[in-house]
């Protein structure tokens, strides 16, 4: 799952994939702004056929937060 999220982030934020780790802070370390994060989450919703609840949307800070959420959805 991490590899998939990393690939989406790398393409969207135009960053080298190796610079993205599970601990990366999406805003501070990867330079994303609020619109980038929404775009990432919409991409995740489209690709995985899920709807992320509004209350969860504001809670994603690190790459691990997104990966853990998706893993839970998968289970």
């Amino acid at each position: 799952m991490f590899e998939e999220v990393k690939a989406i982030l790398a393409k969207q934020l135009r960053r080298a994939p190796e610079t993205i780790t599970l601990d990366s802070d999406i805003k501070k370390d990867l330079g994303a702004d609020s619109l980038d994060i929404l775009q990432l989450l919409m991409r995740v919703e489209d690709d995985y056929g899920i709807v992320i609840p509004d209350q969860e949307l504001a809670g994603f800070r690190t790459v691990a937060d997104v990966v853990n959420f998706l893993n839970k959805q998968k289970q």
Partner: protein, 339 residues
Amino acid sequence: MIKIVLDCFGGDHSPEANVDGAIAALGQFDDLHLILSGDESALRKCLEGKSYDPSRIEFLHAPQVIGCNERPTDVIRLKRDSSMVKAIRLLRDDDSVAAMVSTGSTGALVAGALTRLGRLRGIIRPAFCPILPTMNGGLVGICDSGANVEVTPEHLRQFAIMASLYMENVYGVSKPRVALLNVGKEAEKGDELRQTAYKLLSETSEINFAGNMESRDLLSGNYDVVVADGFSGNVLVKTTEGTALELLGKLKKEIYAKFIYKLGGALMAPMFRSLKDFMNYQNYGGSVLLGTSKVVVKGHGSSKATAVCKCIEQAYRMQLSDLGGKIEDVICRYDHYEL
């Protein structure tokens, strides 16, 4: 070949007007290829008996329709089989598709485009830019007119650069005169946002900054681009359009009030037709979303075939002129981003 996806549902005259507009646009540009998004059987029915090259039309079957009264942020996530969402996703995922045109819900289109398409490199916030005709026969672009309610001076500077390049590359305006919407012409007028933006725009060599503009001068022909926050820009455009339509209505009512006026009105009929054409938004296409990674054009909800065709023409010309590439080039050069 330029491939454009057309959202055929959601407008007041959809899908007939969209389909007729698509056929008209195909007649204008030999290398145009269209993908019609919406209920395929309904679209095929609209095409029955009409003359067009079937090899230049594809279908993207989408059985759902987004209504204008639905909450944009919800429907854009939940109605995944709608003509609009499927068109946006195709635009995002298919590199061969260059642009999208829609006459559906403005809110849903903005939400969908901003959250799914991504932005041109260096762009902080994409912005809407409709055009209006001016008194000297030209056009004026108003950027932003609704995508961003809260802005910073830096946002306004980017709107000025994007709209200036749009007017230059799509409408052939040389060195577009850019004005900042304000409550007075003097540099010190307005709130802190407007005062700081004035200074920033004055220092931006990529635009031809002409100073502050009061709303009453919008159609004067003295400006080619007006920069505003999305709230003020939206009020400006709608007030101008509404006032013009109300005045026309009032004029008609007065003429029909007395027989002698009717006689005079009959003599002036050609002039009234010309005035009506001048003020008819159907002749000017739609509002473009500047700054997204791909071209998006929003037609008026009540667009008829002529307006849909104009919107497709706008999208075609934006792509043909590589407007996105030119915006990225200037923005990144100015902001010292790495290309």
